[in-house]
């Protein structure tokens, strides 16, 4: 699992959107398993196994929880996968018929991740999943992310909350003004105050 840190407006979201083909790259390429996917339409990129959980959740607010989940499923008859994902987020189970727009922040984030998991991605892109969540929910989210990673899913985590990112990621990348400027193992970042100060302008 890697984390991508950077100040507001550094271009982290844009970077993820470029991977997903939602923003076209002016230069550079996106390579997956040796194949250039830069110019593929987003839905093909998603089907190749890259799951994207957008900043601000990106739910379909007028659809119910179950309908939101189904948008992520390739095989919408696959009850088994649905059950497994609901086991991971039990709070969604009682709310399947409720409109996604009426969920609480934590439930919305759970739904956004659950919906993407149903695509069975190999790589998961998470854009600021903890924004607006209560500390208790953040802790629960941390467990889920760690669990997914231990099952073999590669995760790219974009975060504002530095301690959260450091507690999860193995390696940390820093983005400054749209450029990947520095990277280091998380131990090094955690032990050196100057890194955070230099690339984020914050105190560790």
């Amino acid at each position: 699992m890697v984390a991508l840190l950077g100040r507001n407006g550094a271009g982290k979201t844009t970077f993820l959107k470029t991977i997903m083909g939602l923003v076209r790259a002016c230069q550079g390429r996106v390579i997956l398993d040796g194949v250039d996917i830069t110019a593929l339409p987003s839905y093909r990129i998603a089907r190749l196994g890259i799951g994207y959980v957008p900043q601000g959740r990106g739910l379909f607010p007028e659809l119910t929880v179950l309908e939101n989940l189904k948008t992520g499923m390739r095989d919408r008859r696959d009850k088994g996968s649905l059950e497994r994902v609901l086991d991971l987020f039990p709070l969604l189970r009682d709310r399947l018929g409720q409109k996604a727009g009426t969920l609480s922040g934590g439930e919305q984030q759970a739904l956004a991740i659950a919906r993407t998991l149903l695509q069975k991605p190999r790589i998961l892109l998470l854009d600021e999943p903890t924004t607006g969540l209560m500390p208790l929910i953040v802790e629960r989210l941390k467990e889920v992310i760690r669990e997914l990673n231990s099952r073999g899913m590669a995760i790219l985590l974009v975060e504002e909350k530095v301690p959260f990112a450091l507690s999860l990621a193995h390696r940390v990348y820093f983005m400054v003004k749209g450029k990947m400027t520095f990277s280091a193992p998380k131990e090094e970042v955690a032990s050196r105050e100057d890194i955070l100060l230099k690339y984020l302008g914050v105190q560790g």
Binding site: Y43, A46, G58, F60, E67
Partner: protein, 290 residues
């Protein structure tokens, strides 16, 4: 005497409501295309016209009206799909350009029909003879058929959108195309599908209306205005709102037609609708989503 007036009024009212159902069918297509694709389809009325003209041609060639209900949707689908792909897709996300493009399409369709079908309005015989007694008023059977089929189609569209998996994908694309495609939904297919379905709804409205109106190359012009009004009053993207607005409009126009000339009734309806929009610019059932 009083009961005669009452029966006459009832007859006009039912007539108006049935016309309202046809308008609802067409307006539904317009609203659907706008909701999913963000396109104001200026050629929508001409698809209604095309449906009626095709019905006339099919009847002339084969002596059967009912076949149009099968042939026209297929024919319009074959026209609409490449139109979306070749003419509208390149301008996706540019509402003004697509509006101009569909206005051009409207003009082309009208002129093509003028060239081939001619400029003289024509009539089709009633495909169903006989009438139906309703509260002492003899009502033509075919008009009841129009009402029944329109209701069945409107209900099917609703069921499709809300009870099928593909309907979920369509509604998801309607809410956020970018996220939908990031979820692995092929939004381009959804767009073609939407345009075809919307156009077919208009054309089927034209087929149904053909035997009870004059088939004419400009017959879509009035209808598209009515549909715009109905869609806006019903609240953009609200299927139920569109249906109710169309029925109100049809009913009011029907009743007024008893007192005024048909043209006078239509003018009065336009005035009424303008009044409603001044009081409630977001429509009767619209939320203020913009």
């Amino acid at each position: 005497m009083a009961s005669e007036v009452a029966s006459a009024l009832l007859f006009y009212l039912v007539n108006g409501l049935i016309w309202g159902l046809i308008i609802a069918l067409i307006a539904l297509g317009l609203s659907f295309i706008f909701g999913v694709m963000g396109i104001v389809n200026m050629a929508h009325g001409d698809l209604y016209m095309l449906g009626a003209v095709f019905a006339y041609w099919i009847f002339s060639a084969l002596g059967n009206f009912w076949l149009s209900l099968l042939i026209v949707p297929v024919a319009i689908g074959l026209l609409a799909a490449p139109t979306e792909r070749l003419i509208l897709r390149p301008f996706e996300g540019h509402p003004a350009v697509t509006m101009i493009a569909t206005a051009g399409l409207s003009f082309i369709l009208q002129q093509l029909v003028l060239m081939t079908y001619g400029g003289v309005p024509k009539e089709l015989p009633m495909p169903l003879q006989g009438s139906f007694d309703f509260l002492g008023v003899a009502y033509p059977l075919y008009r009841l058929f129009i009402a029944a089929l329109s209701l069945v189609i409107i209900a099917s569209v609703w069921l499709f959108l809300h009870r099928t998996d593909y309907g979920i994908l369509v509604r998801a694309s309607m809410q956020d195309k970018e996220i939908a495609s990031a979820m692995g939904i092929n939004v381009n297919t959804v767009l073609v599908f939407t345009f075809v379905l919307g156009c077919v709804l208009a054309a089927v409205g034209g087929v149904l209306a053909a035997p009870v109106t004059q088939v004419f190359y400009l017959m879509g012009n009035d209808v598209i205005l009515l549909c715009f009004i109905v869609v806006i009053i019903g609240g953009l993207g609200s299927l139920g709102g569109t249906l109710v607005a169309a029925l109100v409009l049809g009913g009011v126009e029907g009743l007024l037609a008893y007192f005024l000339s048909p043209t006078g009734a239509r003018a009065a309806v336009f005035a009424f609708m303008v009044g409603v929009l001044i009081l409630r610019p977001q429509g009767l059932f619209g939320t203020q989503r913009g």
